[in-house]
């Protein structure tokens, strides 16, 4: 494997040669590390280890058939180390008659060796070969691999073929060669195994944003837009979901404690009670005022309850709670109505004989009620009573708060689950062809095999 070694430091060196097929100039950027190099004029794959550059294969491709997004020869800093893009290949799989292709870039640093970038539908991975073998567990479904304490779930397996190459490669690259590639994911990482014959190469990729790639290589313009959800794309929400439900549990505990506190500390004090009769047939002014009563404590609510013996009738009370000291009034109207009867469906009732209203934020002071009853003039005398309680806890607020805390947590969880659903829909374990996935589908098998045919040839 060509990685860091005892080579003395020095500036990157470039060797110029000529293609034996067409005579075009060929630049060798990775020098002796390159095993094969591709002539971008005649598309001959040459033996870079041979001083005569023997032609190993010639493949048909149009000029600029698949230009690399990172031009070969471009240098950039990946994880603090300078690398140069030296090779580029397109790999393709066929699933249910549809071809899916992705791109792989070979990066080279004379001291660190090779590392790789893969790109599919705007999703990028920074990839390097593993230095030790992961542990495969095929006894579970999906199968897993363990590496450095992390467990990776099998995502998919497919046969990937090389369909286009440019530049240099540290292995014997051939257009048309294929290998069995399996991906195991643990976002933001993916471990890939690539089997060619009896040889298996393991590599690890880590999801990286296109914007970071553009910045690292100083590329012009914008990176391609990401399409869909990628196999090892980190979910923007999954890490938060558990923490949000823990926070929700904490909030419920606080809510429960608050409920107990407000219930136990609320005065819930009856401050007024009056019993009255109303004759709808009487002439003259019907309005009256009650005795003055005192509301103490801090500003809080006042719950007014009206009960009446209405019997297939109604009574309506125009009420005003008036502060005798300041002249401030709280004006409201309440109706008590109760009807019942019998029809083809049986007994029915409508309304009830009591009603309550909560007057908000009433400051302390001396108050009285002005009451103006109304009712149906065909009815008889109606008895009713008015009672008022000070500082009554409102249970409805606790219900509203419960919903206000539950709904966002539920929405975040739903979005997170939907993200994972979209991810796994494209795996070997997902349901393919589901209509609801179309809008955000990244496409079938994406980055299977990040390191096509990379061999430790040394």
């Amino acid at each position: 494997m060509s990685t860091s070694g005892p080579n003395p430091p020095g500036p990157p060196q470039v060797r110029s040669l000529n293609c034996p097929g067409c005579g075009a100039a060929i630049t060798l950027r990775s020098l002796s590390q390159a095993v094969t190099v591709v002539c971008d004029h005649c598309h001959s794959i040459l033996d870079a280890q041979d001083p005569r550059l023997t032609i190993l294969q010639k493949f048909k491709a149009a000029v600029d058939e698949d230009p690399p997004l990172i031009p070969l020869g471009t240098r950039g800093k990946i994880r603090g180390t300078d690398y140069e893009a030296v090779g580029f290949q397109r790999r393709t799989i066929h699933v249910e008659g549809v071809s899916y292709s992705w791109h792989e870039y070979v990066l080279f640093n004379p001291y660190k060796g090779f590392r790789y970038l893969t790109e599919y539908n705007g999703h990028w991975n920074d990839t390097s070969t593993l230095r030790s073998l992961p542990t495969v567990n095929n006894d579970v479904s999906p199968a897993t691999v363990s590496y450095l304490g992390a467990t990776y779930k099998h995502f998919q397996t497919a046969k990937a073929g090389t369909t286009f190459v440019l530049g240099e490669f540290p292995w014997q690259v051939r257009v048309g060669e294929s290998s069995d590639v399996s991906d195991y994911v643990s976002p933001p990482r993916v471990i890939s195994s690539e089997r060619t014959g009896k040889e298996v190469t393991w590599s690890m990729g880590e999801y990286i944003s296109g914007r970071d790639i553009w910045k690292a290589f100083g590329l012009q313009g914008e990176p391609p837009e990401r399409i869909g959800v990628y196999e090892n794309q980190p979910s923007p929400l999954s890490a938060d979901t558990t923490a949000i439900w823990i926070a929700f549990g904490g909030f419920m505990l606080v809510l429960f404690v608050m409920m107990i506190l407000f219930w136990s500390l609320a005065r819930n004090e009856q401050v007024f009670q009056g019993d009255y009769k109303f004759n709808p047939n009487a002439h003259g002014e019907t309005s009256f005022v009650t005795d003055v009563f005192e509301l103490g404590g801090h500003t809080s609510d006042l719950e007014l309850t009206t009960t009446s013996n209405v019997d297939n009738s109604w009574i309506y009370l125009n009420c005003a709670l008036i502060n005798q000291d300041t002249g401030q009034a709280y004006d409201f109207g309440r109706e008590v109505s109760y009807y019942y009867g019998h029809d083809e469906d049986g007994l029915w009732t409508e309304g009830k004989q009591d009603d309550s209203v909560v007057i908000p934020s009433v400051p302390p002071g001396h108050y009285y009620f002005r009451v103006e009853p109304e009712s149906d003039s065909r009815g008889g005398i109606i008895s009713y009573s008015i009672s008022a309680k000070r500082d009554v806890p409102q249970v409805s607020f606790f219900g509203i708060v419960l919903l206000a805390l539950l709904v966002p947590a539920g929405l975040i969880t739903w979005r997170s689950m939907n993200f994972e659903h979209l991810r796994w829909a494209e795996s070997d374990y997902g349901s393919t062809g589901s209509d609801d996935d179309d809008s955000e589908d990244a496409g079938r098998p994406m980055s299977l095999g990040n390191l096509s045919g990379k061999r430790d040839d040394s």
Binding site: S287, W314, E350, R370, Q394, P408
Partner: protein, 61 residues
């Protein structure tokens, strides 16, 4: 990030609840009227409620 926003949101919601319970907020509709004259106590008919033109339910099934 989302977690922190949710915690901030939850703290605000619970703080609002505490304020609502302490100050006695209500979901019921009540109109506030300023400067009601003291003469209302002697002449209740001189005050007219904004609800006095309410259209009453007179039915049943």
């Amino acid at each position: 990030m989302i977690r922190n926003l949710y915690i901030l949101y939850g703290v605000i919601v619970l703080g609002t609840l505490a304020m609502a319970e302490y100050r006695g907020w209500s979901l019921d509709s009540v109109d506030e009227v300023k400067n009601v004259p003291r003469s209302v106590r002697d002449n209740p008919g001189s005050y007219r409620s904004v609800y006095s033109s309410y259209h009453h339910y007179t039915g049943g099934k």
